[in-house]
């Protein structure tokens, strides 16, 4: 699903955010990215959904080389990638239902169908009773669930989540992780950047650890240990 070859990302005036990263994520995998703040987790995710270009190296997403992708093609790549942000990025003046349906609106899905699918997804994340609420009226956990519903409503092949439990208490964090795991069970490849080491350890999933822009360990599942890039 994702292949990164010798990827480096540098911002002018700062030390490189990523240095010579090699990483492969198979279709249907669930991967945690961990590491201290500034390790390069968010930058890695941003490179995958083309929010930033790589300084060096090649990135293949679903077989497409995003380093060479035309600006006009980026939206079409993003339609296959659901993104969950730590700061939610919800439209404050639109209802929960409209926020979730936004991913379908950009695809030109007819409104009744978009609302029906958004309703179904909100039911899946347990927010069927909040469809007409505005995001600012919801708790942090509820807002995060709306973001997950928006990211998953068009059934993307890949889900990227940047600190999805960063602002939440342990019980809510567990709830959010369950939603992500459910998506993974349904076939979506999931990559989660997180600081929450106890939760990562409990999950038994593959863990890629970054430090100062380099992958320092890549251990997956109960027994498999992958190469360090």
């Amino acid at each position: 699903m994702i292949q990164m070859f010798h990827v480096t990302k540098a911002f002018p005036g700062d030390p490189p955010a990523l240095v010579d990263v090699n990483l492969t994520v198979e279709k249907g995998e669930f991967v945690f990215l961990t590491g201290p703040s500034g390790a390069g987790k968010t930058t890695l995710l941003r490179l995958v959904f083309c929010a930033e270009p790589a300084t060096r190296g090649q990135i293949l997403v679903g077989g497409r080389n995003v380093a060479r992708i035309r600006q006009a093609s980026i939206p079409f790549l993003r339609r296959n990638i659901g993104v969950v942000f730590q700061d939610f990025k919800l439209l404050p003046h639109r209802t929960v239902l409209d926020n979730v349906a936004l991913s379908l609106d950009v695809l030109g899905v007819p409104r009744p169908e978009a609302r029906q699918r958004a309703n179904r997804m909100l039911k899946l994340v347990g927010l069927q009773h909040k469809t007409e609420s505005l995001p600012l009226k919801l708790s942090g956990g509820e807002q995060q669930r709306v973001v997950i519903a928006r990211a998953l409503v068009n059934e993307p092949a890949l889900l990227l989540a940047d600190e999805p439990t960063g602002n939440l208490d342990p019980a809510l964090s567990q709830e959010i992780m369950s939603l992500l795991q459910d998506a993974n069970v349904r076939g979506t490849t999931v990559i989660v950047a997180t600081h929450d080491l106890p939760m990562v350890e409990r999950s038994g999933k593959r863990v890629v650890r970054l430090d100062r822009g380099r992958i320092v360990s890549d251990a997956g599942g109960p027994t498999v240990v992958r190469r360090v890039g």
Binding site: R78, R79, L102, V106, G108, P110
Partner: protein, 299 residues
């Protein structure tokens, strides 16, 4: 189906944008209304000037002096030739020409009374159709007539015609320059104002792009807002122009009565003018919002 769904989404988004930023949109609409009102007034003024210039052109007469020695039949042949080409021709005999001169000179015509015979030649006074009033056409007609054996001279007030034509040309050019300046200034103001609206919704644009919206998807609601503002501005401008016509125009007509001509101030196609103004408004709004959103997306 997908296009209809997108159109509905754009419409909802545009309405939401207007609802959440009424002040910015009101400023744009009023700017457009002022520009369109000015354009409407300028257009009416240009229309009146054209009418004035055209009517003065109608006063241009070509006087063809004929050789008194040629038989009357030859003179009549010249007049008939001109009539066949759509011109109104009046034959003026030497006596009639003298009588007219005496009338025009008044007391100063005393010296003409002692003349034993008519000193003036017979002539034709020709009113040319509108299509031939251009200086080049008149010049060509005069040259052609001068080459006729029965004609001894042609006078059509060459200098006056040239000057009138130059004035009309200058007025039209000035109108175009003013139009371009006004449209340019309006576009700059409208696009700067709309950029404020877009900037206030930058987060929404960012989120739309993160979930896979194309630039066109992002642009469309803003373009729709621009077009709607243009139409609203045009409606205000049309209302202003109607009010102007009903209140100030009669007073101006009285003040400038020496320039008023039959039929002046009446508009034969008010609905067509209103439609054109609405289209111009929509076009200006679209262009202004396109500039604003294009600049924003490229930034």
């Amino acid at each position: 189906m997908s296009a209809v769904a997108k159109a509905q989404t754009f419409w909802r988004s545009a309405m939401e944008g207007i609802r959440h930023q009424p002040f910015v949109h009101a400023v744009s609409t009023i700017t457009l209304a002022i520009a369109l009102f000015t354009l409407g007034l300028a257009r009416s003024a240009a229309h009146e000037l054209d009418r004035l210039v055209g009517s003065l052109g109608g006063e241009v007469r070509v006087t063809v002096y004929l050789d008194p020695r040629v038989p009357p039949a030859a003179r009549t042949a010249v007049a008939d030739g001109l009539r066949r080409r759509g011109m109104v021709v009046e034959e003026v005999s030497p006596r009639a020409a003298l009588d007219r001169l005496v009338r025009e000179l008044g007391p100063a015509a005393e010296s003409l009374r002692g003349l034993s015979e008519d000193p003036l030649p017979p002539s034709l006074e020709v009113r040319v159709p509108e299509s031939m009033r251009a200086p080049t056409s008149l010049r060509g007609l005069a040259a052609e007539l001068r080459g006729t054996p029965a004609v001894t001279g042609v006078d059509y007030g060459e200098q006056a015609v040239e000057r009138l034509s130059a004035i009309a040309r200058a007025v039209r050019w000035a109108g175009w320059v003013a139009f371009v300046v006004l449209v340019g200034a309006t576009l700059i103001i409208v696009s700067a104002t709309l950029q404020l609206a877009i900037y206030a919704r930058r987060e929404e644009v960012e989120i739309q792009k993160l979930v896979g919206a194309t630039d066109r998807f992002v642009q469309a609601p803003f373009l729709l807002e621009g077009a709607l503002q243009g139409i609203a501005g045009a409606a205000l401008a049309i209302a202003g122009l109607i009010a102007f016509r009903q209140t100030l125009s009669p007073q101006l007509a009285t003040l400038l009565s020496f320039l008023r001509l039959p039929g002046a101030g009446t508009d034969a196609r008010p609905w067509m003018d209103a439609l054109q103004l609405a289209l111009a408004g929509a076009g200006l709004g679209l262009a202004g919002s396109y500039l604003a959103v294009h600049r924003f997306l490229r930034a």
